[in-house]
Symmetry: C2
Subunit: 548 residues, 2 copies
Amino acid sequence: MSGTNPYQQHLDRNPANYVPLTPLSFLARTARVFPDRPSVIHGARTFTWKQTDARCRQLASALSKRGIGVGDTVAFLAHNTPDMYEAHFGVPMTGAVLNALNTRLDAEAIAFMLNHGEAKFLFADREFSPVVKAVLEKLGRPITVIDLDDSEYTGPGDTHGEMDYEAFIATGDADYVWSLPADEWDAIALNYTSGTTGNPKGVVYHHRGAYLTAMSNAVDWAMEPHPVLLSNVPLFHCNAWCFPWTIAMVAGTFVCQRKVSAKVVYDAIADHKVAYINGAPIVLGLILNAKEEEKRTFSHTVNVMTAAAPPPASVLAGMAKQGFQVTHVYGLTETYGPSVVCAWKDEWDALDMEEQSRMKARQGVPYTVQEDLMVADAATMQPVPWDGETMGEVFCRGNQVMKGYLKNPAASDEAFAGGWFHTGDLGVMHPDGYIQLKDRSKDIIISGGENISSIEVEGVLFRHPAVALCAVIAKPDEKWGETPCAYVELKPGVEVTEDEIKQFCKDHLASFKCPRDVRFVELPKTSTGKIQKFILRKMLQEEMDVPL
Amino acid sequence: MSGTNPYQQHLDRNPANYVPLTPLSFLARTARVFPDRPSVIHGARTFTWKQTDARCRQLASALSKRGIGVGDTVAFLAHNTPDMYEAHFGVPMTGAVLNALNTRLDAEAIAFMLNHGEAKFLFADREFSPVVKAVLEKLGRPITVIDLDDSEYTGPGDTHGEMDYEAFIATGDADYVWSLPADEWDAIALNYTSGTTGNPKGVVYHHRGAYLTAMSNAVDWAMEPHPVLLSNVPLFHCNAWCFPWTIAMVAGTFVCQRKVSAKVVYDAIADHKVAYINGAPIVLGLILNAKEEEKRTFSHTVNVMTAAAPPPASVLAGMAKQGFQVTHVYGLTETYGPSVVCAWKDEWDALDMEEQSRMKARQGVPYTVQEDLMVADAATMQPVPWDGETMGEVFCRGNQVMKGYLKNPAASDEAFAGGWFHTGDLGVMHPDGYIQLKDRSKDIIISGGENISSIEVEGVLFRHPAVALCAVIAKPDEKWGETPCAYVELKPGVEVTEDEIKQFCKDHLASFKCPRDVRFVELPKTSTGKIQKFILRKMLQEEMDVPL
């Protein structure tokens, strides 16, 4: 072909017309164009883009002097702090890969990740010194530890590192000249999945995917120029959905926080004009259920991007009344965070709030940079009809899918079998091309041979005015095989009986779908606000003394 | 490296995690997500995205049935009409390359381009039938001609084609399944430069560059969701700066027009809620100098993106007062249209209009997806100091630089020498990293050994309230070598004398820079509104009977 195609003759890539895509370019551009705009805010500290750029280069230079380069792994155990933000640029500037660790994990899990990822450096916040101490004992090999001693943290904790972060980057050069990655396919980040079963898997992101997701975030959320973002998504969770790179691209401001609370959210909105908040659905409840003394007044619209669970109508209505505009997204660690968005249609504005909520509860359509999305039979990979009813597995493919699992070719091959990424989530395709999740396969309850979607039952429970959060799991039953068992967390100060909840379910669900058991509890959650159903299953298992 | 780097083991590209970047994906996504939103408006006709998608597939299918495929060229000679818009997707869907021709060219130039580009099809608007007839005679080989018989056109003109566009696409299948390009580096468009000297050069765009420029347009212009665009940039000019692809990406609406006029602009704003207009600076004058009966009222802000010449303060002030927000960009055919933008800074809002205008008159900083931009010594390629004074050539590099010139390796090598694209434009770098064009090298006037920037003199002339447009060229002079000669087009109904203009210049310029001659004329312009200085030079040459 290239022998005769004139468009392939002497029209090759060269340094003038081709550069690898990398989010590092965003920082370089913004430091040049908007050097004095605020980049990162943390408590009383505000950095400018010029400062952030210099500090990232210092970090890169310091790491480079210590031998860190292409293919090496640098781990961080930190909250959403400025140093952790800087790591998103400083580490890949050396060609190395950032491994941001979940701060809620125990020493065993962290030691596993550090060894599996072959991390050479561990930067750790002083707050986590007990777990770091245990990690160092378990590791069985030396690792260089650098302490992150956040001025906003005054709690207990020792230091185990050879020096503090500020001292470490002081050994680096603010004029350090970094190189673009040799290939945009080179790794930029390593993020371990939570791994409720078996060992966690190391999801590898590349520069190209990080660049494109960063752009798509801005386009799909229609972000205004210089957005101020409060990320309630931890930076260790899919790199806060790639938003550190988005914020650098649009010369916005990244507002840090060590711990989400209603006060933190309202203060950030009022004091820093935060207009964008991303987070698990729990953040919506936090905002809505804030005490009066925690609330602050503001006059701008605050856009909230939330994932994982569909916000119930009452929550959406309450949010809208208070000046919050909710966008519902869906994704996995393997898709760089959100890669599906419930793109809003103008005609839905005319629907009543209940109907709007039903629309918004759907996960939606591919992100602008994601190529394709389908719901298909898990075995044959044949797409299900677009009828909103036929259940299948959700598959996606495109540039927002990870490079693969580190040192786990079998898992990678399985995940990519047939040319699509297998999400493991179950859902339906609506006639308008919007997907809606129904369940993880293991969350389906089979009662008397009928499939019951735990998400459907939870959706009904959510609509009860007393319910703050809920989770429905399968309870073994001699007669039916399984029956739905509901765990409900009530709103503060509200009272309701088990029977009232059961009656409410009967009013809204086929009776075989109604929970036989309703338990009022404080639900176990991950650090990102996901309800941990496997803990509920364990509790139920122990209670019943049967294998689930 | 790959032997030991764990991030390069079993983490390769595969169909699940990699697709070539192409703007065709934007159309597929938008047709799926927003099938019923308006895609293209032309006169009384409005298409939806579902219809546009189907028509593009039909065009692709029909071309494919006629043997068009990878590496073939399909030429269009048309205004901004729906068929021309569809060509931006339908042609590359087959793997072929769209060659949109400048409608103002003569038969000789068009015949040259068709032969050089080896076009196999020519789609031509009936309005251009005289030139098409002449082209067919000159071509010396057969070519398939398809007629574009636009319902909005009622003027004279024959048909030369074997059939009409609508009949042609009716031979195609609306369910045609197109393939992504094998490589995102594959060509998508061929755009000939105007070529005032020598033969025109064929600038080749690739799918990757078109995709990234389309995204950057939306980000750098901070476009709101579903923008309605009136492109006063012809689709044959850098594919209207890649905006057809941007509009598909953001599910906006592309408003067509056969001929720009004040009435067309105001009607589009009032009738179709056009909020985005791109065009040469001439469009600003058109808007400002519109007759009262042409103007329409509107309540939204209209964003105008303009290139090539800095808008004078009086124009900017007038535009702002009437609800227009001007963004100044700069680029060349070789950079997919705009690749430099005068990114606005909040602190400039506090400046007076004159100062704001001076800021906005600068070309600015790289587009978000463009990697780098410098002003450097043309010979040594050493960057000039960032002092706003030292002149040098403007260079850029990155993913917004063409693949190269078709079948012209010598010109490509020259353009890319030293790893940067040589723009041929002269300018300075301001201390804040914003570039400002001073001139094309041939537009510098050397008087008594001193360099005079014709752009600087034009900038002063522009500020005179009577001046609509102006151009300054060098006039040979026995004593000084050259002196500045000004050609001025006055605003309608305004009177001013040569002496008044000269005095105005003396008040604002060093005397050696002041025009010795001021002539009142209607300036010769290209179809895109660029003033054709070479015609003025020819006129002066003939007048003086000396070689210039």
